[in-house]
Each structure stands twice: as C-alpha cells, then as structure tokens.
C-alpha cells in the first residue's frame, strides 16, 4: 500500500480510537438477548463498541483466572464476581446487581402448567428438566422450590439435568421433557410468555437469582468499560432488561 495513504488511514483510525473505545465483555448466556440490544443502544449513545462473548459463568471464571482479556464480566450469579474480587482479579468496589433472574416452570403444552405449580404434584408428566444444581444458579433455585413445595417424592424420579439453563430449555422446547424449570428471560418477551404454559415462580420460594457485574483488571484503565458499567444502570438499559423478564430491585 502507498505509504501516505496508509499513514492517513492509520491516523484516522487512531483518532477515532481515542474518542470511541472498545470493551470486551463476558456475558452470562441467559442474558444474551437483552445484552445484544443494550450493546447496540450503548454504541449509538456513547460511540463505544462492546464486543460480546456469551457463555457459562463458571467457564468465564476459569478463563479469566488464566488471563482471558475480558474487561467486564456480567455473571449469572453474585458469587463469581465476589470471588474474582477477593482473588484480586477484579477491581474492588465495582460490583453491582445488573439484573435479578426469575425462575419459571414451563411447558410447551398450552394447558399443562397452572399458575400455582400444582402440576408438580400430579402424574401429568414423565420427565422434568432442571439445570444441574451444582453448576447453574437456576438449577440450585429449582431444587429449593422442589424442596419448599415438598414435592421431592413425585419429582425426583422424573428429574433430568441440563448442564446449563440453555440446555434445560432445549430439553423442554423439543418436548423430550414435558416440563422444566427455565429462566423466565428465555420464554418471556414484553410482558408475556411467548409459547406454551408457565408458572412464574414467586421469588419467596428461592434465594434471589442476583446477577452481578464487575470490572475486571483488564478493563481498569479502559474508559469504554467504565462507560458500559454506567450504561447498564441507566434507564434505557433497565427498560430493556425488564422487557426480557428480569426483575430490578434497585
């Protein structure tokens, strides 16, 4: 390439880079849909670009521990960000709850799930899917609900586990399991369940599914990372988050 052209292109690019930064974000898989919208709005409003990587929080934790270049983590729980902070991998004092997940008992069949979850006491299903309680917060919450309702005897023999809430959704969505505890965000849009029947589990039946964000060491001096964390707490972002079936208690 012509050297002068190269320099001018590089110059323009560098100029742009000083104004508009870029931030690489690790995002919990259950937050995929709202985060894509938030990133778009964020870019329009601030000029900063957010590069999103979606996945399981536990995997992100292992990757961050081994030097993955994420600037921000939007976790599926509140323990992982706290642990990262304690281990000196995240910037102290930057944690906050960006969304609180809601649990739903869902079926693809239109009339199977009633609005009190009484179906769990019935014989109207052969298989019920939950996320692995050891690996996924939504799975642990589902186990709490099963315990609190006292339906272990009926439910446990029919239990199948997905390795993540995404796989749990697959099991129910392909109707290999007639029922399943999924994230409300997976089946909810704009105030309605998108298909089938569901019981939105009252939050009193399980530990709150707080999803925390944290600034990681790699993003300490990145203005775009700071801007994104601020943007997540803006009204624009909160509206998107609520539309997708998350609670916000702050």
């Amino acid at each position: 390439m012509n050297l002068r052209l190269f320099l001018s292109v590089a110059g323009v690019w560098l100029c742009a880079a000083t104004h508009a930064g870029e931030v690489t974000v690790a995002v919990a898989a259950n937050f995929t849909a709202p985060m894509q919208k938030i990133a778009k709005a964020f870019e329009q409003d601030t000029g900063h670009k957010a590069q999103l990587a979606f996945g399981a929080t536990g995997k992100f934790y292992a990757q961050i521990k081994h030097g993955a270049p994420f600037a921000v983590l939007l976790a599926a729980d509140d323990e992982t960000p706290a642990r990262l902070e304690k281990e000196g991998l995240a910037v102290a004092g930057t944690r906050f709850t960006y969304a609180t997940g809601r649990l739903a008992l869902w079926s693809k069949q239109p009339n199977l799930v009633d609005d009190k979850g009484e179906v769990l006491r019935s014989n109207r299903f052969q298989k019920i899917a939950i996320a692995d309680p050891k690996l996924a917060p939504y799975g642990a919450a589902a186990m709490e609900v099963i315990d609190k309702m006292g339906v272990q005897a009926n439910v446990m023999p029919k239990l199948v586990q997905g390795e993540s809430i995404g796989q749990t959704y697959q099991f129910v969505s392909t109707e290999n399991a007639q029922l399943g505890f999924v994230a409300l965000s997976q089946i909810w849009f704009d105030g309605r369940i998108t298909q089938g029947s569901a019981w939105v589990v009252p939050q009193s039946l399980h530990t709150p599914l707080k999803q925390d964000a944290v600034l990681l060491n790699a993003g300490k001096d990145n203005p775009a990372a700071h801007a994104l964390l601020k943007y997540l707490q803006s009204d624009a972002a909160k509206t998107i988050i609520r539309t997708h079936g998350y609670a916000l208690d702050h």
Binding site: G58, K127, L159, V160, G162, E163, F171, E175, N176, A177
Partner: protein, 230 residues
C-alpha cells in the same frame, strides 16, 4: 486416586454402554461393510459418505438432531411411541442409539478394508466347492477378515467410551442411567472439583492408551502373520 461410588457407577455404566454398542455395531456394520466392499452400484459413494458423516460432524450437531428426532414430534420419537416404548431421550437405550450412530464409521471402515483386502478369489473358490453364500461367508470370509473384526470392535468400544457431546445433549445426566465417565468428569471440572476430576480423567487416559497400544501390537502381529502366510 479417589473415586467416589458415583464415579464407579459411571465407569460401570460406560462399560455397559460400550459393550452393548459394540455388539450391535458389529451386527449392523458387517452387512453394510460387505455391501460397500463389493457393490458397483451408483449408491456406493452416497452411502459411504453417509456412514462417514459422524467422523466430521461435531457431536453437538449429531446430539441436536437426535434430540429433535427422539422428541415426541420427531420421526424416531413418533415410531418409538407407536411401538409402545415411549420416548428414548434420557434413557440408556437412547444413549445406545446415539452411540451406534456416533461410532458407526469406526466399525464399518476396518471391515470394508478387510473385505476389500480379501479380494473376490476366496469366495469364488468357495463357490466352486459348492458352498452356499452364507456358508462361504461364515467359514471363509469371517476368518479371513478376523483382524478387521477385532479392529472394528476395539475402535467402536474405545470410541464409545470416549463419547461426550452426544451423551451430554441427549442424556440428562441421570445417575446409573445416563451419567457416563466423560459427563461425570465434565461435571467435576465445571464444579471445580479438580481432585475428583483427576481421578477419573487418569483412568480414562490410561484406558485409552492401553487400547491404542493393544491395537498397534495386534496390527503388527497380524501383518507379520500375513507376510509369513504369503
């Protein structure tokens, strides 16, 4: 090494799954391989490609298609329900079906090679001696292709033991029914129980190495024998 009772359960289930799969695969792969080795049909290439598909498809693709196909609205699910077996996802037999598809090329390919290496002569000679086709197949072809059968069995068994993606997607992680060694290791690693993961992973590593070592010894021996025979 520390293996919990759940780990031991997973090992037992894995061996059971691999054994059943290997037996079924040999029964299924033999006629397919025989046909592939002898046919001049235009269907040979498409069928050979279909059989080899699991080699290149990511297990998640296989697992996803299986999950859809096994469901109550999928073709396999409709058949199994009609037959009165319910649906197969999250059951041992569902895993067997998945494993048979997943390991099919590992059973078919060594057999095709063995049948092709044999050439048409032995069967022709058997025919001139008035052996009927079945007789000739079992008394002439099978003994001649024995190294191929042994290799097919060992590879199918080992490959099924190492299966992960398909099981993860259609298994549902049920202890004693669908929780095999590979998914158990995955669970340990994800739950950050690294010392437990090490125990099982070590078992898996040693097993795989021994199988491959056995295969290469066996190969050398049967090659030498062929040379001596020739």
């Amino acid at each position: 090494m520390n293996l919990s009772s759940e780990d031991v359960q997973a090992i037992a289930l894995t061996l059971q799954l691999a054994s059943v799969t290997t037996v079924l695969l040999l029964l299924l792969a033999t006629p397919v391989a025989w046909w592939l080795a002898h046919t001049r049909s235009a269907w040979r290439a498409p069928v050979a490609s279909l059989v080899a598909l699991p080699l290149v498809l990511p297990p998640t693709v296989l697992g996803f298609y299986l999950l859809v196909a096994l469901g109550p609205n999928g073709p396999i699910g409709q058949f199994t329900q009609w037959a009165g077996w319910g649906t197969l996802a999250f059951s041992f037999w569902g895993l067997v079906l998945g494993s048979v598809i997943y390991s099919l090329p590992f059973a078919v390919q060594p057999l095709v090679n063995a049948f092709e290496a044999m050439g048409p002569r032995p069967m022709e000679v058997a025919a001139t001696l008035r052996a009927n086709k079945w007789d000739a197949f079992f008394t002439v072809a099978v003994p001649l292709a024995k190294p191929g059968f042994v290799m097919a069995a060992m590879l199918s068994f080992a490959h099924t033991v190492g299966e992960f993606g398909v099981v993860l997607m259609i298994g549902g992680n049920i202890p004693d029914k669908t929780r095999v060694v590979s998914t158990q290791i995955y669970g340990h690693v994800e739950a950050m129980a690294y010392s437990q993961a090490h125990g099982l992973a070590g078992v898996m590593l040693v097993f795989s190495f021994v199988v491959l070592l056995g295969l290469s010894w066996f190969n050398r021996r049967s090659h030498q024998r062929q040379k001596v025979g020739a």
